[in-house]
Symmetry: C2
């Protein structure tokens, strides 16, 4: 139940050529407090409810708990969420035994793209693709919960 | 997904004699905002995650969504909750086709007992037992989410 994740900006859109999937994600937050974020997500035709804790000092590990829920339930819960909803397209790009998830944000976060890789171990090494940019792991501004309150276009 | 509920104080403990069950409930909140409370509960040997919206003007109907979760998951999620945990004993008391749930609070809410009845319809009539006291339906101070932040012993 602990997530080990590193987060990066991107230099260009060439990851699209390597993508094995592309899905729309709409999500809102029942709590945006970084100590206990509660996220409602619709991803393609699936619903999810996810609870995350605060990250450790290096920003790479974070408690995460998730359960699948019906899309209709997720839609009802989205009505209760804090006002700003996140709308993004997620591309999945294989990288050796790992997978990059690249999120292109729309709406109030238009212009922002974030790449994430989930690792088995905090010290795992992976190959950096050409399109990978600056690391922003642990920078709370890039948490989706924060982007819903303080969106990229207002930075 | 809408809860119709009336809430009362009690005059004495004679409801205990009519109780058909008695269970300890420990619960915390991932969000205490009355617009979107998120509750983690352990009731006997079961775990639950519950989301509630704000009530209507009369205070009787309120959006509610709940899913069962493993007790170990509930325990992990309780660690993430806001500091004050609610600890109470719940008695179930049949009343015609309805059921009263009477909660005797412990810890920081010691001395407080609340009876709740869930109705099929906002205008449903039920027999008032002798032990039933003043109605507090819709009074936000008696929401468990508020009792965890602003407990009864500090009123």
């Amino acid at each position: 139940m602990v997530e080990i994740e590193r987060k990066y900006l991107v230099r260009n859109t060439s990851y699209r050529e390597e993508a094995i999937s592309q899905k729309r994600i709409v999500q809102g937050f029942l709590n945006t407090d970084p100590n206990r974020t509660v996220r409602v997500r619709i991803k393609g035709d699936e619903g999810f409810l996810t609870v995350k804790g605060i990250s450790n000092a290096s920003g790479t590990t974070r408690f995460e708990w998730e359960t699948g829920i019906k899309v209709e339930e997720a839609e009802a819960l989205l009505q209760l969420c804090e006002p700003s909803v996140i709308d993004k397209i997620r591309y999945e790009i294989p990288n050796g035994k790992y997978l990059f998830e690249v999120d292109e944000f729309h709406g109030a976060n238009k212009g922002l793209t974030i790449a994430e890789i989930e690792l088995g171990n905090e010290k795992d090494i992976f190959e950096r693709p050409d399109w990978l940019g600056e690391e922003v792991t642990g920078d709370i501004r890039y948490y989706n919960s924060q982007l819903s309150k303080n969106p990229f276009t207002e930075w």
